[in-house]
Amino acid sequence: MADDRVPKPGTSTIQHPGDTGVIPERDVTQQDLLESGENPEGWLLYGNNYRRHHHTTADVITPENVSDLTREWTLDGLPNANDAAGFQGSPLVVPGDPPIIYQVNGPEQNRAINARTGEILWYHMYHPKAPVRWETPPANRGVAVLGDTLYKVTLDHGILALDRYDASEKWYYNGAYEYRNEIAEGDEQMAMHDELQAWPRWRGVASNYPLVVHDGKLMMGSFGGEYGVQGWAEAVDTDGEQVWHRGMTPPDEWVGDAWKHGGSTVWQTPALDPESGTAVLPTGNPGPWFGTVRPGWNPHTAGKVALNSETGEVEWGFQESPHDWWDYDSPSPATIFEAEVDGETRKLATWPGKTAWLYTVDLETGELVERSDELGEHLNTWTMPEQELQETPWILPNLIGGTNPQPSAYDSDRNTLVLKTTNLPMKLTWEYEEYEIGEQYTGMTYISASPGQRESIEGWNQPPGNITAVDPVSGEIKWQDWLASNPWGGTLTTSTGITFAGTDGGLFIAYDSETGDRLWTDQFSMGIEGNPVSWYDPEMGKQYVYIQGGADAEENMITVYSLEE
């Protein structure tokens, strides 16, 4: 049924296929969110804590018994499968009797699921006003929860607040009303800036990124980097009112009006240090890809930007590929952690780049502490594209990797970050492209090496992808598992020393976090693009592991494993 009770540009479908009465009433507090990473019974934030560790303290599953892991329940072939492609991201799990899973997949779809049985309790889909390219619809990667409200971003740059017991809508925030200091004509709740609704959303260039809710505010970002936009981030309070708005292309650091189309979108979720309030945001590439029309560093593109989450003021910006030509932007979320450096305990932020190095910086200054060993191969890196594609040499890393939007997992006990890398050669060439609203603004043609071409590429010696464990302080690689195809999706570490990760070939793997030995595997018929999460259910005496997968094909799956203590 359609639900238009709150004013919003699009429409919604809300269904109750199950008994929503089983959802336990529980006020999820700010304190619950702060403690989520240490609480084995839930998963209340994207990444399970604000610092994005993607780590669980649930300890029933160990290296010794992980081989006994079995499928507890599975959902597959979910309705609207063609429209629902992009089973990336990860759900939230609110502890209770039973625990409730708040699942996401693209575009704009959410489900409340009984975590013990797999019964779908409610379903919510928002049909945005902005066009969606249904052949390759975008991924919805996560939601936020606080109190009895679930928050989701929408593809028309809005936020919807849902009652988490029945998915009824509380309010809609219209993030497309104001853009580049221009106000859309019409009602504040409904009118959208022309340039923000002109292009079709699809997996390559749009995302519903997981909101961050902290201290009464929701932080959200923007997308559309390949369409000549100016990226931004903003904070909205829990009543749906804007707190601050920060453009990500500071005009005085660009020549002329190039900032207006400079990209630097923020379409993956920030890491946040609750103590200092510093949020580390991933930023997209500069626009257009054709660089000579935007000389200079093009801050803050293709790196990370640290903002004061209270005020939106920029604390520092770190670029991996200043004045980028190769789409080496930095969508992978950062991880914040503390570690000893030179005899001193410091707060650090670390992330793997598309440039196939891991960067670890001081959280307060953004100064680089170490750049790691290469995560994938480098070949003709930073070589300028030629005017003809065939004249351009093969280049590594690929524009879809090293690491793209996949979140890495951090195990603080072992000071180990586990990430995924793409290792595929590419070629680029450039072309001038005139900006037109709603049309792609890349100025580049790109190919990735086909299987037939790969055999003849000198200097490319390793397979197309890997799963890698790195010491983020020393920069040393601890282990790598090379794969026949480049892996997508995130990773999960456990306090017992296990890393879970999926592959493009549909293999779900449990590694020994210290050695990289494969301890257990399970095979699916589709690629695994989701981020694994885990929780402990004290009533059942079981630890659960959740994974979802499926992409452009009709196939999709949600699978929950369990192991009884």
């Binding site: 000389p295 560093w297 200054t365 953004g366 750049r371």
Partner: protein, 311 residues
């Protein structure tokens, strides 16, 4: 020639290519000077310029295309500031990595930004873009010959301490980067690429080419303090040396551009020379900001400082 770029240091092969472009072959034509010691003066008599009047016509059009009045006094005064910035480069290099709060590099550009603002205000950039050709190989070749023959480049760069070797390298480097320069099109060139015939149309979001070259170089310099502090663990002395040389080339290119504008303001420049100097200085500004990226910004594993593991 490919657009593959490693760093700003010219190889012997690249010097030979430069001489070929000028039509100079054999040691006799260079007065017997060794390849790496050849100066513009050595080459002057060996280089011929076929005058078609094109450079003069373009220079005249630049002059006529100004929409405001160039202020010779302002440009001249600020040029002294640019010269002073070039003088200060050795002490900036000696200081090494800027401390937090220090702006060793950003403080070099104040005078240049003042000139840039003025040139934009009087329509200098718009006029040069409208009246100069794109950087095709024939224009670059003609420009290089004019620069060698005219002495104006030597004179201006000598004022800011560029020795004969540096002057030669500045011109040779422009020739070396001819393929890359071709990517820096004037906005009307982009319109042409799109198949349009409205050459005067300038997309509002793309600044004029010569302003992109000038202001782009200044932006690169301004950002170096932060870059060096942030990436200190990757930076070597060699990279700092090369980076300073690139900044010097940028400021030298800017001084050359300013000199042309200043002399245009006082009526003390021939039209032909104006074309050569604006094209040459713009090319120098583009080439040096590209060099900077490969010398100091795009840091490979081969060039970076040894990894210390956070120690």
């Amino acid at each position: 020639m490919t657009t593959e770029h490693t760093n700003s240091r010219l190889s012997d092969d690249e010097r030979r290519d430069f001489l070929k472009v000028l039509g100079v072959t054999g040691a006799a034509a260079t007065g017997g000077a060794a390849l790496e010691d050849v100066t513009l003066s050595d080459l002057r008599e060996a280089v011929t310029v076929e005058s078609t009047g094109e450079f003069a016509r373009r220079g005249e059009a630049i002059r006529n295309g100004l929409t405001g009045e160039l202020n010779a006094e302002l440009v001249g005064a600020e040029m002294a500031g640019v010269a002073d910035a070039i003088d200060r480069l050795p002490e900036v290099r000696t200081a090494g990595i800027p401390e937090r709060g220090e702006e060793l590099y950003a403080e070099l550009t104040g005078a240049a930004w003042a000139i840039d603002d003025h040139l934009a205000e009087v329509g200098f950039y718009a006029s040069t873009e409208a009246n100069l050709p794109r950087f095709g190989s024939s224009h670059i070749e003609a420009m290089a010959r004019h620069l060698v023959r005219a002495e104006a480049l030597e004179t201006a760069l000598s004022e800011v301490g560029f020795d004969a070797r540096e002057q030669t390298e500045a011109v040779a480097n422009v020739v070396r980067q001819s393929d890359h320069l071709a990517m820096w099109q004037p906005t009307w060139g982009y319109e042409d690429v799109e198949g349009g015939d409205e050459f005067e149309v300038e997309p509002e979001y793309v600044p004029p080419l010569h302003r992109r070259a000038a202001a782009g170089a200044l932006l690169w310099i301004d950002g170096l303090d932060k870059h060096l502090r942030q990436k200190q663990v990757l930076i070597t002395d060699q990279m700092l040396d090369d980076g300073i040389a690139d900044v010097r080339a940028m400021l030298g290119g800017f001084y050359l551009l300013s000199d042309a504008a200043s002399r245009l303001a006082t009526g003390d420049i021939a039209d032909e020379e104006l074309t050569a100097l604006v094209s040459g200085s713009t090319a120098m500004l583009i080439a040096s900001q590209t060099d900077l990226q490969y010398d100091l910004v795009r840091i490979t594993d081969e060039m970076r400082a040894p990894r210390t593991g956070g120690d």
